[in-house]
Amino acid sequence: MINTSKSNLVFVVAIIGLIVTAALVLFNLASQGHAAFNGSNLGLHWTFPIVVYDYFLLTSTGLAMIASLMLIFGGAHCQPLVRRCLWLAVAGLVGGVSVLALELGYPVRAIWAIPTSFAVTSPLWWKVMFVIAYVVVLLITVNLLRKPGEWPAAARTSAILLLLAALGVTGIAGVVYGSMTMRPFWSSGDVPVAFIFESLLGGLAFAIFFSYLAHGFSQERMSAPLRDVLTGMLPKVFALAIFVHLMFVGARALIGLYSNAEGLQVWQYLAGTSLFHIELWAGLVLPLLLMLSPGLRSNAGSQTLAALLVMISLFIARYDYIIGGQLVPMFKGAWAPELLSYAPSFTEWMLLLMAIFLANAIYVWGEKKFDLSWCKQA
């Protein structure tokens, strides 16, 4: 069962962390403006805040996809995970969008200027439209499942719409980058599909990790139905998702290292960094081995470790993809090095922590308010 005193502690820590990091970020932005970020007109336009925003948004849609699939196809035995996934999706969405709002030049103007522009040629316009639809359907679905008990009949319809909206957001997020033919590191027709699989993997990792976190990393404290899901079907699906994502990462890296296309020089740099190898070996291969082993697959410790490693790996992947796509300058010139250099500023790191604290505060509040662990006992 949920340990109330521990969840209170997590909530208090999250609130204090949120206040401290938000104060630091807001002070730095008020005093320095966007100079508090390490972006530049040399070519690095989208930096760490966009990495954080996309990571949280796509994790949110991944969680929503998993909850929807469980609602549509899973039947009663998936019940113990659905409410947690949905609320985690809400928490992640708020964390990500708050970071984007602090990165935009005019966030308030964006609220009306984007929807009323009908800029149908812009992938970003479609992404915002799908995000609006996603927010509405997600909140409706959460509300339908707010109270413990049998799922209402409308939940299935709502889940279908939520799945479509989440797929739309994630796929178009891929189009935002994949359609940039002038940036070969980003551009590819398979990027939207890769984003969808990456989101699903992230959703699975977060669902597993936070289910264990809520129960003190102990299967004994879990209800029998939840334990059955976590030791039965879920780790196998998790292994498959890791494998599919690993194929995408490996194929992209191999083609990038092989190709002579301008802009893909960055692969030589990326493949030489420790971050890439942590992403690949510690973040994907090791969790895959853990989930392939019948003895370890059902173990609480190995599941938690695998989920945590995948969560970190996906963040590195998001960072390498967004930053890596901008490292080769558009023009050679005396003013531009072979590769641009970038490291997140202090304010940008604080934005990441702020998003983590904010999402956790919302998540724990929901845990206490909605009893996310509820399930019908057999």
């Binding site: 403006g33 966007h34 100079a35 970020f37 390490n38 972006g39 530049s40 007109n41 070519g43 336009h45 989208w46 935009l104 030049g105 005019y106 966030p107 103007r109 964006a110 200027a113 984007i114 522009s117 009908f118 800029a119 040629t121 812009s122 992938p123 970003l124 316009w125 915002v128 935002v176 940039m180 033919t181 002038m182 940036r183 002579n260 301008e262 802009g263 893909l264 020089q265 030589q268 901008q326 080769v328 300058p329 558009m330 023009f331 050679k332 010139g333 005396a334 003013w335 531009a336 072979e338």
Partner: protein, 252 residues
């Protein structure tokens, strides 16, 4: 309607940066944030080194990727003249246009100053503009991205819209050597000492820019992106050259 375009003869360009300076003065650019720039680069290794340079304004493309990606229609293609402009009243500073521009000619100037000391601290603005330079010109049209850049928006070369759009209708070329037209000539074209720049109507078969493009085989940069720039380069193999690659060295 005219479709204004520019021809830059690289055989005549000396890399003197007069165009860069004139643009900065005309458009109140922050030091280092040049709408019009001349890029310098070296190719080869010692002793087989050649130094090259490349003048680069915004290309005011026929099919601009910056326009198609803008989620608020702040960046738009002006049907009367073919200018690509930014409405600063609609721009939200998402920087997608900067990411999508294959030519790197757009500027979000709220970041760290390129040149120190930060001139924005020396001449601070009282409103939401970036700065308040003592020599600013009278032109101010935020709906076309003209004037002093506000905070939080992207900017770019306007082809000196505030001058060109006032030219008499039907004019084929804007040439500083024609006294009655010189006030309408873009700043970078007007000051070009070796007369390497030409500005005219690409839709007018009588224009000198069309003749130059045809006779000297004008080329456009990065044709493979499909953006179709309205700036053409004439290159006969002198020191200034259209860069063929983005990178300084081969990947191998």
């Amino acid at each position: 309607m005219a479709k204004w375009g520019m021809v830059i003869d690289l055989d005549k360009c000396t890399g003197c940066q007069a165009c860069t300076t004139a643009c900065a003065m005309e458009n109140n650019r922050l030091p280092g944030e040049n709408w019009q720039d001349v890029l310098f680069y070296t190719e080869g290794t010692y002793p087989n080194v050649s130094m090259k340079w490349f003048p680069r304004p915004c290309f005011h493309c026929e099919n601009p990727s910056c326009v198609s990606v803008c989620p608020t229609r702040a960046t738009y293609k002006d049907p009367e003249g073919g200018f690509v402009l930014i409405d600063w009243n609609k721009c939200i500073g998402c920087k997608y246009c900067q990411v999508a521009c294959p030519y790197g000619v757009r500027f979000f100037t709220d970041e760290k100053a390129v040149v120190q000391p930060d001139i924005r601290d020396v001449f601070p603005a009282k409103d939401d503009r970036q700065w308040d330079p003592p020599y600013k010109g009278p032109q101010d049209d935020p709906s076309r991205g003209i004037g002093i850049q506000p905070h939080g928006v992207v900017s770019k070369c306007t082809f000196c819209y505030h001058k060109v759009s006032k030219a008499p209708e039907g004019v084929a070329d804007l040439d500083e050597d024609i006294p009655e037209l010189k006030e309408y000539v873009p700043g970078c074209v007007r000051v070009c000492a070796p007369k390497a720049r030409f500005f005219g109507d690409l839709d007018n078969p009588e224009s000198y820019v069309n003749k130059l493009i045809a006779d000297k085989r004008g080329v456009r940069l990065k044709e493979e992106t499909g953006n179709k720039p309205q700036v053409y380069y004439l290159s006969g193999g002198a020191a200034a050259a259209v860069p063929g690659l983005r990178s300084m060295k081969d990947k191998s």
